[in-house]
C-alpha cells in the first residue's frame, strides 16, 4: 500500500486546540516513521500511535478483560443506553464534529445528558462570555497585527508549544517589519514558567489574585489609579501602571488565557473581568481576548452542540427539551450526585481528570468508552471500543481554538471503524428499537 519513505503533507495535528495543519508525516511500510513541523506533543501523538492501539473491543467479565466483536460491543451499547434512565454522554473533544452531532442527537433520543470536557476546562470562560460577550479574532489576525501579547494563567511553551511560533511571538507578521523584535510578551502567572522566561514583562501574582489584578488594571485604564493600593495580590502598583500603559500603547493587543484563570478561585468572574478589561482597552486601541482551548476539537463540540441544542455544553434532555444549567447538568455534578445510571465516554479521559467520587461512580455503572488507546478511564469502564484516530486513519471536521473549522486528513488505512460510523450505528439501532416499543 504505502511505499517506504512515503511523505504526506498538510496533515492536521489532532492533539491540541492549535490544530496545526502544516504537518509532514513520513511513512515506512505503512507505519508512521517520521514527523516534521509538529511539536513534541504532536509528534508523539503520531509516532507513538501504532504501538498503543487497543486491538479490538474489550469487555470486563469479573476480573478479566474479554475480547468481543464490534457487533457485540455495539449491541451492548445499544441495550445499555436504551435501558438507562439517566444516561450521561460525555467527552467529545478528540473526535470530529460529525460524531459530536450524532452524540447530541443521541442524547435527545434517549433523554440523556450530553456534556463535553469543556465543563472541566473552559466552561467558566463560556459562562463569562454568556454574561459579557467575547471580543476575539482569528489567530492569523493576531499573527499579522499584534505588537503586544498577554498570556495569563497559560504556559503555551509547554501546553501549546507552537502557539508562539505559528500565531504570536515568533510568527511572521504582515504589519510588523521585524515581528520578533517589535513584539512584547507579557506573562501573568503565579509562578515562573517556560513562557515567563521569554516574556518582556512577567507579572507574578499571588494564587487566587487574578480578579484583583484585573480590577486594578481596569481602574488604571479608566484613569482611576488613585483607587489602586500599593500592592495588589503581590504585584506592585508601579508594575501594574507600567503594564496598563503598554496595553494602551499597543496598536493591536491580544490576551490569551488558560485554565490557570478559569480553574482558580473566582472562576468565571475572573474571565468576565478579563473580558471587561479588554472591552475597556478597546476604547483606546484594538484588543482581543481568546481562551487557550486544550483538546483538538473541544471547540467543535461547543459549536455543534450549540447549533443543534442551543447550548455549548452540559445539555440535559431528560424533559424532552434542551435544558442547560452548568453546575447541575455538568458531568462532574451528575456523577457526584450519583445520578447517572449509564455512561458513554467518547474520546476523552475522565478517569485521569475527574474527582475520585465521580470516578468511583463511573466504575459502578455500565460505562462504555470509545478510545483508540488504553487510558485511565479503561480501568473504570465496562466496555472499551477502539476506533480510528481522527487525523490519522479518520477524517472529519475540527474547530481550532479560534473557531476556524479545518478538515483533518486520513492518511493511513488501518481497518479500524470510525467513531462516526459506530455512533451512527448505535443511534440507528436505538431509534429502531424505540419505534418498535
Amino acid at each position: 500500500m504505502f511505499h517506504i519513505e512515503d511523505k504526506v503533507r498538510h496533515i492536521v495535528c489532532p492533539y491540541c486546540g492549535c490544530l496545526c495543519d502544516d504537518i509532514l508525516v513520513e511513512l515506512t511500510d505503512g507505519r508512521i516513521s517520521g514527523v516534521e513541523n509538529a511539536c513534541t506533543l504532536g509528534a508523539h501523538k503520531f509516532l507513538d500511535d501504532a504501538d498503543n492501539r487497543l486491538k479490538g473491543p474489550i469487555m470486563r467479565k469479573g476480573d478479566q478483560w474479554v475480547d468481543i466483536s464490534y457487533e457485540e460491543a455495539i449491541a451492548y451499547a445499544v441495550q445499555t443506553l436504551s435501558e438507562a434512565d439517566r444516561p450521561l454522554l460525555y467527552g467529545w473533544s478528540g473526535c470530529v464534529t460529525e460524531t459530536q452531532a450524532i452524540g447530541a442527537h443521541l442524547a435527545e433520543l434517549i433523554g440523556g445528558v450530553v456534556d463535553s470536557t469543556t465543563s472541566v476546562c473552559h466552561g467558566p470562560s463560556i459562562l463569562a462570555i454568556q454574561e459579557v460577550g467575547h471580543p476575539g479574532c482569528t489567530l492569523g489576525q493576531v499573527k499579522n497585527r499584534a505588537d503586544t501579547i498577554i498570556y495569563w494563567g497559560s504556559n503555551p511553551i509547554e501546553a501549546h508549544p507552537r502557539h508562539l511560533s505559528r500565531y504570536t511571538n515568533y510568527a511572521d507578521a504582515y504589519f510588523l517589519h521585524n515581528a520578533f523584535r517589535e513584539r512584547k510578551v507579557i506573562v501573568f502567572d503565579v509562578r515562573k514558567t517556560a513562557t515567563s522566561e521569554i516574556a518582556s514583562e512577567f507579572v507574578q501574582l499571588e494564587q487566587g489574585g487574578d480578579y484583583h489584578v484585573l480590577s486594578a488594571l481596569r481602574a488604571i485604564v479608566r484613569g482611576r489609579e488613585d483607587v489602586v493600593p500599593d500592592m495588589v495580590a503581590g504585584v506592585p502598583k508601579s508594575q501594574l501602571i507600567r503594564v496598563a500603559e503598554m496595553c494602551k500603547k499597543a496598536k493591536f493587543g491580544a490576551l490569551f488565557f488558560g485554565v490557570g484563570v478559569t480553574m482558580t478561585g473566582g472562576k468565571y468572574k475572573n474571565i468576565r473581568n478579563a473580558i471587561e478589561f479588554v472591552d475597556e482597552l478597546n476604547r483606546h486601541t484594538k484588543w482581543t481576548i481568546s481562551p487557550m482551548r486544550g483538546h483538538s476539537n473541544v471547540y467543535g463540540s461547543n459549536e455543534v452542540f450549540t447549533w443543534i441544542t442551543g447550548y455549548p455544553y452540559a445539555v440535559d434532555y431528560a424533559r424532552g427539551i434542551a435544558f442547560y444549567n452548568p453546575g447541575e447538568t455538568t458531568a462532574v455534578d451528575i456523577l457526584a450526585r450519583k445520578e447517572a445510571d449509564a455512561a458513554l465516554i467518547m474520546a476523552s479521559d475522565p478517569g485521569a481528570h475527574f474527582p475520585r467520587t465521580c470516578c468511583e461512580h463511573l466504575a459502578k455503572i455500565p460505562t462504555i468508552l470509545f478510545d483508540p488507546y488504553p487510558s485511565a478511564t479503561t480501568h473504570l469502564c465496562t466496555v472499551q471500543i477502539p476506533c480510528a484516530v481522527n487525523g490519522i486513519d479518520a477524517a472529519g471536521t475540527a474547530y481550532r481554538m479560534d473557531g476556524i473549522p479545518i478538515r483533518t486528513r486520513k492518511f493511513l488505512e488501518t481497518g479500524y471503524p470510525t467513531d462516526t460510523s459506530l455512533m451512527h450505528e448505535i443511534y440507528e439501532q436505538i431509534r429502531e428499537r424505540k419505534e418498535h416499543v
Binding site: R9, D21, T97, I126, C137, T306
Partner: protein
Amino acid sequence: MSELLIKNAYVIDPLQGIHGDIMDISIRDGRIVDKVSGSCEVIDAAGNLTLPGGIDSHTHVCGTKVNFGRYMSPEDMRAGRTPRRGAMYPTSGYTVPTTYGNSYRYSKMGYTTLLEGAMAPMEARHTHEEFAATPMQDMLANTLFDGNWSLFEAVGDKDIRQAAAVIGWTLAAVKGFGIKLTNPGGTEAWGFGEDLASIDEEVPNWDITPREIIDTTIRACELLHLPHSVHLHCNNLGMPGNYRTTLETLDIPGDMNPDRQTLYLTHVQFHSYGGNTWGDIKSEAEKISDSINNKPQVVIDMGQVMFGRTMTMTADGPMEFRLYTLHHNKWSNHDVELETGSGIIPVYYSRKSSVNSIMWAIGLELALLVKNPWQCMLTTDNPNGAPFVKYPEIIGLLMSNKYRSKELSQVHKLTTDRTSLGSIDRELSFEEIAVMTRAGQAKALGIINQGKGHFREDALADIAIYPVKPDQTDPSLQYEEVIGAFQQTLYTLKDGVVVSRDGEVITGVANRTFWSKANLPEDMDVLKSPRFVEKFSRFYSVDLENYLVQDEYVQRGVAMNTGVNS
C-alpha cells in the same frame, strides 16, 4: 415516479404574469409539469392563496457569528423551546434559534430557499455544516470580500480581471454563491480599531477607497457573469446622517446587466438616516427611494425593524462596537484575518424610543415609497431588525393603512414629524407581496433558471398554500387574517413533497446548496500568481491546501457555472 395535483389554487405567479387565477398545479418527481395522470394524489387548495415557495435573499441563519449569537445567549435559547414532535427535533431559541428551529419556522411560513447573508471564506466549512442541519430549505451563501487582501491588491492595481480571478477562485474554493461587501474597507480598518467615515476615505495601509472597492467588485462580478449582483452593506451603517453615504453609493453603478440589478443594497433602513446626532435623527427615506426609483439597476431590501428583543450580528465589526458603547450590553467581536470582521450584540427595540420608532417607520417608508416592488425585497435582515417570524406582521403593515395608522399612533410621538409614514396611503397588493417575498428575490438572486420563484414547467415544485382567499379578503380591513395566514401555511411543499402542514413539519427532503463555479481561462488562474499564493504561505494561519472546502461539505451542491467571455 411520484405525481401530485394541487386543485383550485388561487395562484399568483408574478414571473409568469399570473395575477390571481384559480387553477391547478401538476407536479411530477418534484417539478412542475403540464399535466399528471388522473389517479395521482390530490390536494384541494380550495381557492386559497398559492405562491411559489418563499425566498429570503438576506438572512443570517447559519455560520460562525450566528452560532456565536446562540452560544453567548442561553437566555435567548430558553425563550423559544419546543420538544420533539413527530419528525421535528427539539428546538431552542427565539431571535437566534437553533438550525432546526430556523428551518422549521421558515418552512411553516412557506419559505423554501434562504440566502445566508455573510459567510467569511475562511470559516465556510462552518456555514456548510449548519446548512446540512437546516433541512427544509435550499441554501446559498453570500461570501464576504469587504476586507479581502487579494481583492484589495487588484483594486489598487485597477485590475478588474484580477479582481474577478480572485473572486471566482474564492467562491469555488469555499462553495460560496455571491459577493457580499460589508462596510467595504471598514472591516479592514477595524483590524486596528478604526473605521471609515466616507466612501472616499482611504483604507488605512491600503491606498484604496471604499468607492474603488465597490466599483471594481461590481465590474468583476459582471465580468464573471455571476448569477447575483454585488450585495452591499453600505459604509456608515446606523449613523445619523448616513443617507449621504448611501446616496453616493447608489450613484456608483451604471446599468450593466439586462437580466437583473447591478447592485443589491441590503437593509437600507439602517442606511437612510438624516440628522447629525441621535437627538435629531430623522428619516431620509424619501431621498433614498427617489434615487432608487430613478435607478432600475438597483434592488434593495428593507431591513425592517420591529419592536421587541433581538440580536444584532454583522460582519461590520466597528459598527457593533459603536452599538456596544451605546447599549453597554454584552459585546462579541470576531475579526477574520485577511478577509473581514464581525460583531454581535443583543438589542431591544422599544416603541418608547424615538430612535427605534423612527427606524421602524423608515423601513416601511422605503417599501411604500419605492414604486416598483421588484426593487424592494421584504426582509428584517434577520435577526438584526427583528426575527423573521415577524414577516407576517410587516406584510400586514404594508397591506393595510388602517393597521399602520393604528401602530403609528402607538410609537414615539416624534415619529410623525421625523418621517413621512403618516402621509403615505399606499397599500400593497397580494401580488406586490408575492414579488417582494419570492418572485423578486428569485430574480435578484439570479436563480429563476434554477427553477426558483415561479411555476413554469420544469420549475422546482416549491409551493406555499396560505389559508387566505384573496378574492374574499380585504387586507386593508382584514389585516389580522392576512397576518395569521402568512404565519402558517396550510401546506408547504418542497420539491413536490408536503414538508409542513398546518404548522407541523411532516418530513424533510434533502436540501441543496447552490454555489458559483467560475470557469476561468488560464491567465486568470490565481494559483499561478506568487503574490496570491504567498498570502497562504506567509499570512494566513492555515495552509492553502486546507483552506479549500472539500466536496464532503456540499454533498447536495448545485454548481452554477459561470465564467468570463473568451
